[in-house]
Symmetry: C2
Subunit: 239 residues, 2 copies
């Protein structure tokens, strides 16, 4: 497997997809690739707009984009490509449409077979066993919260340990602790904005801003940027 | 119907259930009531602890608490009480357990018949048509996101227009706008912390800190504290 799982596409105040551009360039082969794009997480803008924006970005990197929302047969379109990119937005809407087009299984199989997979935000959530560690509002109801299960841990994208001053709602850490209370064997990777995980044949690298790893019975562990872990991330004691 | 729907139980830094205590006192009859309590939203603390804490609060107001998690037949226990209180915590866990005990329908019918209903946070979410405007993490999977549908709008509890500085994740207003994009006829009431809605035979009053009302085609409208609306909240133009 070859996965590049990004916390977010864009840092506040920067143009679209600035910080991870070099990571994506390094992750893909240098020669021109045809990349299947999944814009299904788009809600507050159209999938056409989304695909055009991402196509421009990949074009600047020398690659061609095929947006699956424009394909009459998305699975056939997927089979004509040499990598897949799944964009952020709303995780519930993304997963609902992936199920609708029978793409959860199809993308999972191809990623397992080595098709390079790039996801950001909601696109990283759906690479996990479930979308239960999303930050998104449940604005629609997918048939299940189970997702592609390409990695054994749950990612919490846009992870932050900051809070709004004087606000009583739960902090991110409290929400993740609640998740672990009901899902006791799980590991949650809080990926800070500007951070990514790459998984290449079982070797996991932390790229960019770093992350916080949560398990139910342990104190959360902060792991800094640019560490390579040649172990399972669940084994954070040795990290 | 008699509903008291609170944004939150407790302001940051205050003892449990301080700000809404007088509202609850005024909402209930002066004579001693037996109150059915639903502690199912508890995740990071036990239902026993939750019930004990809330029993103490109601005892101070002169009322008796019957926690439904201790009843072998929760519906029969509900029928022995003269009001219901549904506590906050995680909305997904709350709704999952309400369905498990067949209480979504049972509580709905009794509330429709006039049983006074007090909810806070997740307990206010489940009074709405769905829990799709919760802030909670989807840490488990209820059989449906549909809830009791006692009011025609969606409540967003702990509503805030504040953001974490330098964080790129969606603001609350953006999340609500996404909800409205997929649920175009809906109205969302963002209840600020320290705010509540009371509904007494169709007359809606805004108590405490005020709220922001969202519809898809309109600018959000801020409505201040202590307004009585003798109209449907969806008609915010005339509010």
């Amino acid at each position: 497997m070859r996965l590049l799982l990004l916390s977010n596409s864009t840092m506040p105040g920067e143009p679209f997809f600035t910080w991870p551009r070099q990571l994506v360039k390094d992750f893909l082969p240098a020669q021109r690739q045809r990349i299947a794009f999944v814009p299904f997480a788009a809600v507050s803008f159209s999938m056409d707009e989304y695909a055009d924006t991402v196509a421009k970005m990949f074009d600047e990197l020398g690659h061609e984009l095929v947006s699956l929302h424009r394909a009459s047969d998305p699975i056939a379109a997927l089979d004509s490509t040499s990598a897949i990119a799944i964009g952020g937005g709303n995780s519930f809407q993304l997963l609902k449409l992936l199920y609708k087009h029978d793409l959860v299984r199809a993308i999972r199989h191809r990623a397992k077979d080595g098709l390079p997979y790039i996801g950001w935000s909601a696109g990283s959530n759906v690479a996990c066993p479930t979308i239960m560690t999303t930050n998104d509002m449940p604005i629609c109801e997918p048939p299940s919260l189970r997702a592609m299960n390409l990695v054994p841990w749950q990612i919490n994208p846009h992870y932050t340990d900051q809070r709004i001053a004087g606000h009583g709602g739960e902090s991110r850490d409290q929400r993740i602790a609640e998740y672990l209370e009901l899902n006791r064997e799980s590991t949650v990777v809080g990926l800070r904005e500007g951070a990514a995980l790459s998984v290449v044949r079982g070797a996991v690298s932390i790229l960019g801003a770093g992350m916080r790893v949560f398990r139910r019975t342990k104190m959360p562990v902060d792991i800094g940027a640019d560490r390579s872990l040649r172990i399972d991330l669940a084994d954070v004691d040795n990290a």
